[in-house]
């Protein structure tokens, strides 16, 4: 089997739920060896989170867990026990990377803060992914997807459009888990950067990643406008500066259409059969269109309501006007596009059976992304890791299990 881009990298993932595990998954799917450390018993919180087949909760059948933990080795370990701490350090000594998303205070109390671990393994890259980072007044505050999303400033300007009297609606968290996923993604990039730094210096370092910042940095242009122009954003941005973008009702669904700029506006009104209103002064150039965009939208929608999503999308695209139907998960899973791109991964899991889930969003021509093994069963690789790697005997395993160490 062809080697993968990150083959040979040894990663310990001491993380729960989404942020840390997504970071670990990105590395594992490209060939890094990721040893996932879960607490004995319930294991990773995402095992309890679902979705579950037939809605029957089962620790080995959580869709979220199955997706986020492909290609990892799974061990159980109670790092709070003395033996557990020993073993944890044993793993760290052999690792290039540690990914953790635990409360900073807890990490310090356990003596697993970077200063301590680097003494064990100076080459270690320790990536800490937490809601508010390793320093600052909120450091020890609790958070979750909802809180992070709102504290990043993104919720306040969401949704951008399509809601009447938005002022009376609460700011909106986006689709679930986005905050955690973004944090994990950022972690993966930062981690790889630190690995490169290590190639020069031979030394590892700590990556201190704050989920709040990871999200806030998505608003760089909104923030930029604030810092540079001193403009505060209103809840309802409507047409975004520099780009008009809207959802339109069609006879059989919705489309998202961008026809604001001259180069799309001209063909679009032609497509609509150059109705009189469209050729009026009001919409002559971008500046005037911006002034009267709400009017334009209303008129456009009157027309789109008369036509089907399909006919509009097909013709619009032929005219290179950006336009797509507004899909649900169902349509995207079944879309010819992802079919043609061979995007979805089908994995056969011992307990969950055949599962279909998102593959890699990128294709590397030489070092493929692949699912070599599905998400681990809880503690599936205890023997492989503890006996083969760290030299404990099977009898030790039995004792450690009885002590609820593993």
């Amino acid at each position: 089997m062809s080697t993968q881009a990150l083959s040979g990298l040894k990663v310990v993932e001491w993380s729960e739920f989404v942020s840390g595990p997504y970071c670990g998954k990105l590395l594992a799917d490209l060939g890094a060896e990721v040893i996932k450390v879960e607490k004995p018993g319930s294991g990773d919180k995402s095992r309890s989170y679902g979705p579950f087949p037939q809605k029957i909760p089962h620790p080995e059948k959580s869709g979220l867990f199955l997706y986020l933990n492909t290609n990892k080795l799974g061990v159980t370990l109670n790092v709070k026990s003395t033996t557990g701490a020993e073993i944890f350090k044993g793993l760290i000594k052999q690792a290039d990377i540690l990914i953790e998303n635990k409360p900073p205070r807890e990490v310090e109390e356990l003596g697993f803060d970077y200063q301590s671990l680097k003494n064990l393994n100076p080459g270690l890259v320790m990536t800490s992914i937490t809601p508010f980072g390793q320093a600052g007044p909120y450091r020890d505050y609790k958070s979750c997807d909802l809180i992070s999303f709102h504290m990043s400033g993104m919720a306040f300007i969401n949704p951008s459009d399509g809601v009447d009297d938005i002022e009376n609606k609460a700011p909106l968290r986006g689709a679930t888990l986005q905050a955690d996923l973004v944090a994990g993604l950022n972690g993966a990039i930062a981690t790889m950067s630190a690995i490169f730094a290590r190639q020069i210096t031979g030394l590892g370092q700590q990556v201190d990643l704050s989920e709040q910042e990871a999200l806030a940095s998505f608003m760089r242009r909104e923030l930029g406008v604030v810092t540079v122009e001193g403009i505060g954003w209103t809840r309802l941005k409507g047409t975004q500066p520099g780009m008009a973008s809207d959802i339109y009702q069609c006879s059989d669904g919705r489309i998202y259409l961008i026809c604001f700029h001259d180069r799309t506006w001209e063909p679009w009104i032609e497509f609509m059969g150059n109705p009189d209103w469209a050729t009026s002064e009001l919409f002559a150039d971008m500046a005037s269109r911006r002034e009267n965009w709400d009017a334009a939208k209303a008129m456009i929608e009157e027309w789109t309501k008369e036509h089907s999503v399909d006919e509009i999308v097909r013709t619009a695209e032929a005219m290179r006007i950006p336009c797509k139907p507004v899909n649900t998960a169902k349509e995207i899973v079944e879309s010819e596009l992802l079919e043609a791109r061979d995007y979805f991964a089908n994995v056969d899991h011992k307990q969950a059976g055949k599962v279909k889930f998102p593959g890699a969003p990128y294709k590397l021509s030489e070092t493929p992304w692949r699912v070599e093994h599905p998400a681990p069963l809880l503690g599936e690789h205890n023997e492989k890791v503890y006996c083969d790697r760290l030299g404990y005997t099977k009898q030790d395993l039995v004792r450690m299990r009885a002590g609820e160490v593993i």
Partner: protein, 403 residues
Amino acid sequence: MQQLPLEGIRIVDFTAVWAGPHVTQWMAVMGAEVIKIESNLRPDMTRSFFSNVNTNLTMSAEYSGLNCGKKACTLNMTLPKARELVKELIKVSDIVTENFGGSVMDRWELGYSDLKKIKPDIIMYSGSGFGRTGPYKEFPAYAGIVEAFGGLCSLNGYPGGEPLPMATFGYADITSAEHGAFAILAALHHRSKTGEGQYVDLSMTEVVSCLLYEQIMDYTMNDRVQGLQGNWNSTMAPHSCYRCQGDDEWVAIAVSNDEEWKAFCYTIGNPEWTMDERFRDGLNRLKNQEELDRLIEEWTKNHTHYEVMEVLQKAGVMAGPTLKVAEVVQDRHLGERGFFIDVGHPDVGTVRFPRLPWRLSEGPQGNYEQPPRLGEHNDYVFAELLHLSKEEMARLQEEQVIF
């Protein structure tokens, strides 16, 4: 006045020695009317077990400890007439119990099939060392034999030492008896729903195997034969018994996790042990437990076993004195719970016996009447239950049927 659970249930009890009488002991205490069938030819063996004060076949400890609250009548079962008489008694009973060394009941034509004819819904209990079927069904058995054969002895002893007999008289007897009592109650439950009786065949050997499930599963799973562990445990350390101050005083201590270990070390004033390479964590403690036991004993030696329990338990560490028999009787906890009851006895005044090991929240705690003397209830049984006239009874005594 509230009833005992089994009031109204009558048992014809042929059991003798330990295993059998212990079955009916539970039933009697719970309110069943247990009628022991003995005779001067064959009194319950335990009546005659040598004893300093054993005057009249009543007061041996063995006998008294297992026959509270029962009734006793004397029938010479070697005679056909006696067997007829017993059948009458069985007709008005619910349960028949026996634990003969072989198929005596069959020879007496009192086997289950016979009894069913007399009383269709009868419940019959047979307790034996190896079961009433199979190659050893005729073999006599004592607890020690069954414990040896069942593998219990091979697990009783000091690490590296030899298999040893179990401590107390008839460990297998009593654990079997209790399984038997439970089975009978289950059969009763079924009868009260369906009206059907049945036959209960208990093998002490099989009871022992149930008790050794762990070693057996380890063998069936891993072909491993576990050896002697003494006071040690495969997963906990420290986990042993330590000498204390005073003459032959001992205390048992067990530490199951790091928190308890920390508490233990601080309590006995050796906090540094929590850092000690050898004892830092559970695995190392197990590997170095001989040394560990030695060090711990140096501490326990300076305290009485009760002191050790008090200080360690207050710190949340498992510990308990190794109680001597006398200490069990005097233990303040058992005392406060009233584990021992005083049974008045016509021959030696009050005697202190352990109750059965439970409390029921409602109602009387059980029937702990004094153990019956040989034939003490002949009148009750023959006159009241079987309606024999004075004359008939006299004649039967003549004929040594009632004997």
